[in-house]
Symmetry: C2
Subunit: 359 residues, 2 copies
DNA sequence: TCTGGACAAGAGACCGGTCTCATATATAAA
DNA sequence: TTTATATATGAGACCGGTCTCTTGTCCAGA
C-alpha cells in the first residue's frame, strides 16, 4: 500500500517520444523493433523508455496488426487429467513459437462450447483448438472456418467439416484391447462409457455424437463380431457419469443372467469409478472380474493389482495439435490432415486368463 | 475447403451502420448495448448486423475501455491436479462474473514467472492471480502493484508485499497431521518435500523460499518440539522432485540408524512417488511404515490400504481467490486480506497405531 | 557544381471500437 | 404560440500502437 493506487495512465510511445525528443514514429520504430533508426537515436529512445518504465500495450499492437498472438483452446474439462495434460502439450509448443494460450471449458455442453468459441473469436485469437462436444452439430465450427480463423479439432474429428484433426486411434485401440481380452479367454466383454445418453443401452452406434466414443464402441463390437461373438452390443453401457450411476451400471451388468467377465472403461475417470464400484461390491480383480481402462492415469499403477491400460500419448497429441495449428498460422497452405496418434496396451495385472471351462 | 479462405476484412460497426442507414455512433450504441436508441432503429441495426454476421472486435473494445475482461493466472504447473482444480475454481467464478481467464505456466521458475507476468500485463489483463515460485523475490510482483493491476497471491503468501493472498492453513495442517501421528504413538516422523534445494537436508527452515513449504515444515517441527521430540529436523528431507530422487530419499531415510516410523508427503505428487518407492522396497503400509499425504488426490482412495490425507479444499481456494480479485476489480476498496483456508484430516488406513514397545 | 540515391526522421492516416458533445425532433409546460 | 426539457441521432475525437508516404541530409559520381 506504499504507493497509493493512482490508476496512472500507462506510458505510451508518445510519452517516450516526447521524453527522447523524437517523433512518435521514430520512437515506435525502436520500441516496436521495425524499420531503421540510427544507433544514437535508438539509445536515446531506449533510455527514455527505461526511465519511464514503458510497457507496450499488446492490445493496441494486436489491433493494428490484426494478430493477437493468442491461441484459443476449448476443452471439455481442464480438471480432467486427459485435458490438462493435452493443454500442457499445447502450451509448451505454443510458448516456444511465441504464442499464448487462452483456455475455455465447455463442460461438454454444446451451448457453452458455442459461446466459448464466439468469445475467443471476439478476442481475435489467431487460431483455435477445439474438442467438439458433439460431432453432429458444427455450424459454429463452420463459422470459425468461414471467418478465416484456422481450426484444429482435438480428440474427436468431424470429417464433413474438412479441417485438421488430431485424435487417438480409438477404433484400433478398442480393437486391440478387445483382441487381448479375447486372447485371454474372455467371451463376455462389457464396455462402459460416461457418454450421457437417454438410456443406458446402446441404440445405433452410428448415432453416438462423440466420434472418439463411437469409434471405441465400434472397435469393441467389430473385434467381437470378427470372433463370432453375438450379443456384444448387449454389454455396451452408457451413462457412467458419476459414482452412483456407475455403481448402478456395474451392478446391473453383474446381475445379468450371463454377466461379463471383463470390463473396459472408456476413460480414466470412468475407470476409477468402475474400480471403486467393484471394490464396494467386494469383488477381487482379476480373480472375480477383469478390467482394462483407457488412459494411463497415475492411479492405475498404485492399485492392487495395477490396472492394464490403453495408453494414449496425450501430451504428444496436444503438441501435435499445436504444431499443426501453428504451421497453418505461418501460412503453410497445407492440405487438410487427420492425424490419429497410435496408442499401446500396457499390460499390468488386472486381466485374468480364463481357463476354457469358464468360457 | 468449400469456402476459399479469403481473409475477408471482418465486419465492423461502420459496415453495419452503412447497411442500416444510420450513423456509426448509433450502430455502435445498439451493438455495444449502451446509450439510448429507438426500438425501430435498434431493430434495423440488429437486422443488418445479423445479415452481415457482425462480430464485435473485443480487442478494439478493450482498447478504448481500458478493460480487457481477462484475468491472468500464473501457476506452477497446470498438469498438477492441485493447480488444475484451483484453475477450475477460478474459471468458474470468473465466468460467472463475465471474465475470462488466461493461464500461464511458470514451471516454478522465477524467470518464467517474471516473463509470464510481463506478458499478461502487456495483454492488459484486468487482474492477476499468481502462485509465486519464490517468496523472497518479488520485484516483479511489486511492479504489478505499482502499475495498478490488482493482484491476489495463491497458495503462498508474501506478507511484505501487502497484497491479498489465499492459501491453505499449512502451518496448522502440518501440526494437525503431526499431532495425529504422535497420538498414534509415532516418535520418528519424516517430512518429504519436492522443494528443490541444494541439499537433501534442511538448513534453516526460515530460508525456505516457498511459504507453503516453509509453514508446513515449521508446523511439523513445532508440534514435535512441543511434544519434546529432538532430532525432528533430521527427518525433514527435500528434493523429491522425481521418482529416482524420491526413491533415493526414501531409501536413505529407511537406512538411518533410527528410521522413521511414519512419512508425511508434502503434496499428492510426492505422495504418489513415496507410495511407489515403498512399494518397490516391498514395504507394507501401514504394517512396516505409516504415511500421510497432503491433498486428497484420487489415487489415495484406491490403494491398499487407502491413504490418510490432509484434505485441502483446493477448488474452494481457487474460487475464493477469484472472488477476492473480482471484488477488488469492482472497485471495492477493501483492506488487504490474507485468507488461510481450513483443511481437515481424512483418516483412512495408512497410519498404524504403534504399541508402546515399538516407540 | 549538380544530380541521384541511400538513409534517417517526421507527419499523419488507420485499426474498430467508445464516448463526448452538438444538433434535431418531439413532448410538456407556460 | 413560445419556451423549456427530454429524447434520439449524428459528427468526430480518442485509445496506443503500426505503417505508408513525405521530407530532409549526406555523400558519391558525373
Amino acid at each position: 500500500m506504499e504507493e497509493p493506487l493512482i490508476p496512472k495512465r500507462s506510458v505510451t510511445v508518445a510519452d517516450v517520444a516526447r521524453a527522447a525528443n523524437v517523433s512518435k514514429a521514430t520512437a515506435a520504430r525502436v520500441l516496436g523493433g521495425y524499420g531503421v533508426v540510427s544507433d544514437k537515436v535508438r539509445e536515446q529512445v531506449l533510455a527514455a523508455a527505461a526511465a519511464l518504465e514503458y510497457r507496450p500495450n499488446e492490445l493496441a499492437r494486436s489491433m493494428t496488426t490484426g494478430k493477437s498472438g493468442i491461441i484459443g483452446v476449448v476443452v471439455g474439462d481442464i480438471e480432467n487429467a486427459f485435458f490438462s495434460l493435452a493443454v500442457r502439450g499445447i502450451s509448451d509448443v505454443a510458448r516456444m513459437a511465441g504464442f499464448n494460450v487462452i483456455i475455455a471449458n465447455s463442460g461438454e455442453e454444446l451451448d457453452a462450447e458455442k459461446s466459448a468459441v464466439d468469445l475467443l473469436i471476439g478476442k481475435r485469437v489467431d487460431g483455435l483448438i477445439v474438442t467438439p462436444a458433439r460431432c453432429d452439430r458444427m455450424e459454429h465450427l463452420q463459422d470459425i472456418h468461414r471467418v478465416g480463423v484456422p481450426l484444429v479439432l482435438f480428440d474427436r474429428s468431424i470429417p464433413e467439416l474438412g479441417v485438421d484433426a488430431v485424435t487417438g486411434d480409438d477404433f484400433d485401440a478398442a480393437m486391440m484391447a478387445t483382441r487381448y481380452l479375447l486372447d485371454m479367454g474372455h467371451r463376455r466383454i462389457a464396455y462402459i462409457s460416461a457418454m450421457d445418453a437417454e438410456g443406458e443401452f446402446l441404440g445405433d452406434s452410428r448415432s453416438i455424437s462423440n466420434s472418439a466414443v463411437r469409434e471405441r464402441v465400434e472397435g469393441v463390437l467389430k473385434e467381437q463380431a470378427d470372433a463370432g461373438i453375438r450379443k456384444a452390443r448387449h454389454y455396451v453401457r452408457l451413462g457412467a457419469t458419476d459414482q452412483p450411476r456407475t455403481d448402478g451400471v456395474v451392478e446391473r451388468l453383474l446381475q445379468d443372467a450371463a454377466p461379463p467377465t471383463a470390463l473396459i472403461a472408456s476413460d480414466s475417470l470412468v475407470g476409477l469409478r468402475v474400480f471403486k464400484s467393484l471394490q464396494t461390491l467386494g469383488l477381487s480383480i482379476p480373480r472375480d472380474i477383469s478390467m482394462i481402462s483407457f488412459l494411463d492415469a497415475d492411479w492405475t499403477t498404485v492399485t492392487t493389482p495395477p490396472i492394464t491400460v490403453i495408453d494414449q500419448p496425450v501430451y504428444e497429441m496436444g503438441k501435435k495439435a499445436a504444431e499443426r495449428l501453428i504451421s497453418r498460422l505461418n501460412g503453410k497452405g497445407m492440405l487438410v490432415e487427420r492425424t490419429a496418434i497410435k496408442t499401446s496396451l500396457i499390460r499390468r495385472g488386472s486381466v485374468a486368463s480364463l481357463p476354457l471351462s469358464d468360457q
